[in-house]
């Protein structure tokens, strides 16, 4: 079983890679950060007896993805699973962030995912079932002021995943869209979760569990996975309440949280 993981050197990507290696899957890992990618490749190779390839790539660069695929073809690899984990977020108000940084959110989260998914689907193992995981977010469920571009980019992925899944029915393939709340992927995210107080803890999911269930549910053919009962409740509420209300509510809450966390010096 061959699995490709993008964003494999990040918190969630690493946890996915560990779980896949534990299950005995052969891995092809990619990430923009070459030294970090080498670290996880070596770390896994020391622990598990599975084949682990790694190749750095900037997924926002089309030529880079072509080169990545050329390397895959050179190795003669065909895949059974694709985990689209690579994604970024820059917190803060629209005008408080640099223009190109905001644009990059869409370039990686959406365009990058499209590029890789399109290319890897053409390199699926023709004789076996194929699974794709797209990482959306709880943020995709609402318009989110102060995370506007990020939340919208995740909404794109949610709809894309659902639609692609339909297109692939009858081709022995499934697309699972993962919509996690908080995950303790790195120190920065942990700080953000803490700044949200009780709400942060409530929406935070145990990463090791999410990882295992995501893989299991993807193989079982599930379309969407929202970890945590509280998050599922938020999802239902989000559907019932008008978008302008949720946007206003979220804006109030995030203004408080981000004051505490992003701009602590501004607190009198």
């Amino acid at each position: 079983m061959n699995v490709m993981i993008t964003g494999a050197a990040g918190g969630l990507g690493r946890a996915m890679a560990v779980e896949c290696a534990r299950r005995g899957y052969a891995l092809f890992l990619t990430n923009i950060d070459a030294p970090a990618l080498a670290a996880i490749q070596k770390g896994l190779s020391r622990r598990f007896c599975v084949k682990i390839y790694a190749e750095p790539c900037d997924l926002t660069d089309s030529a880079g993805v072509d080169a990545l695929m050329a390397e895959i073809d050179r190795l003669g690899l065909r895949f059974d699973m694709l985990l689209n984990i690579a994604g970024i977020d820059y917190e803060g108000g629209f005008l408080r962030r640099e223009r190109e940084k905001i644009v990059r959110i869409v370039a990686l989260n959406d365009e990058g995912t499209l590029r890789v998914t399109h290319a890897v689907l053409q390199r699926r193992n023709p004789d076996a079932r194929f699974c794709i995981v797209v990482v959306s977010s709880l943020a995709a469920l609402f318009p989110m002021p102060l995370k506007a571009a990020y939340a919208a980019s995740k909404r794109f992925l949610m709809d894309f995943g659902m639609a692609l899944r339909q297109e692939l029915t009858g081709q022995d393939a499934n697309v699972l869209t993962l919509c996690p709340g908080g995950l303790s992927t790195n120190d920065e995210v942990c700080a953000a979760i803490l700044a949200q107080g009780v709400a942060g803890s409530l929406t935070t999911n145990a990463m090791e569990r999410v990882v295992r269930k995501t893989l299991d549910l993807a193989w079982k053919g599930r379309a969407r996975y929202i970890p945590g009962a509280f998050n599922r409740l938020l999802f239902l509420l989000g559907k019932a309440v008008p978008a302008s209300w949720t946007a206003a509510l979220i804006f109030r809450r995030w203004t408080q949280t981000q004051k505490k966390w992003l701009y602590p010096t501004q607190i009198p």
Partner: protein, 283 residues
């Protein structure tokens, strides 16, 4: 002047132990993860002991590469200042976490920092330790008694409980001390594990979440870190190696029944594999 190395000396138990040992006439090489905090800690030690010999090296010990680079830098320092001899290595840097999180190479963070970083550093410094008949001291904890090593899932990915992971990492510290004694007594190296007691430090607050809340209440009953530092001084100051494996500031004490020669040897070989190193080559 004898030289000691202590990790995690920018706050809590490590800072007070570095201060105490510097005051008692040791040359202290200390480490922390943040350069700014290293400088502040050095200033604070020099303020209480102006003649102290203390230098700090920053390194993020959760990263394998940093730990190996750090041991290379310390070796150079020892060659320059102490004829390549190290009297004691105190592996003290540690953390508590609220959630499952991994290091760059995919290891659970408490296991990686509280135990494996010490394993790596001891490996890098073992020639200098053996030259001086040195001591290795692991900051363990009484909580190691409630733990067993989960050999089939060392990183505890199945039903992760942060407290269980913490306790297991501390049990590993005691097992490592035991393994060092079993393997390297002939080289003159002697290892100990220390129970610092319940100490009023920020360790749990840095974890946040539920762990942070519980710790805020618990630490009120703790002793000041300067008091727990005495446990380390008792093991560093005597000319002869003190007897025993597990100590607190009053002396030797009983450790977990999980600390067997078999478990110690097993953990040692797993750790060599996880780190991609072999002690045999270095010593």
């Amino acid at each position: 002047m004898k030289t000691i190395v202590i990790t995690g000396a920018t706050s809590g138990i490590g800072l007070e132990t570095a201060r105490l040992l510097a005051c008692r006439g040791f040359s202290v090489i200390a480490t922390g993860r943040d350069a700014g905090r290293c400088k502040a800690a050095r200033d604070s030690i020099l303020a209480s002991a102006p003649d102290a010999e203390v230098r700090f090296y920053p390194a993020d010990l959760m990263r394998r590469k940093d730990a190996l680079d750090l041991s290379a830098r310390i070796r150079e320092d020892l060659d320059r200042t102490s004829a390549g001899c190290l009297h004691a290595l105190i592996n003290n840097a540690g953390c508590a976490k609220s959630w499952y999180a991994t290091t760059e190479d995919g290891l659970e963070q408490q296991f990686a920092l509280n135990y494996l970083a010490g394993f790596l550093l001891t490996y890098g410094l073992s020639p200098a330790l053996s030259r001086a008949g040195g001591r290795v001291i692991m900051t363990a904890s009484q909580s190691h008694k409630g733990a067993r090593v989960r050999w089939d899932d060392l990183m505890l990915t199945r039903r992760y409980n942060p407290l269980t992971a913490y306790k297991q990492s501390k049990l590993c510290d005691v097992l490592f001390a035991r393994a060092l004694n079993d393997r390297y007594a002939a080289l003159g190296i002697r290892a100990y594990a220390v129970d610092p007691g319940l100490v009023c430090t920020e360790i749990g607050n840095k974890a946040g979440g539920v762990v942070g809340l519980v710790w805020s209440l618990r630490k009120r009953h703790g002793i000041p870190p300067s008091v727990s530092a005495e446990a380390f001084a008792r093991l560093c100051i005597p000319v002869q190696h003190p007897a025993g494996l597990y100590h607190d500031r009053h002396g030797e004490k009983a450790f977990s029944r999980q600390v067997t020669a078999e478990n110690a040897a097993r953990l040692f070989s797993v750790s060599e594999r996880l780190c991609g190193i072999s002690y045999q080559e270095e010593t």
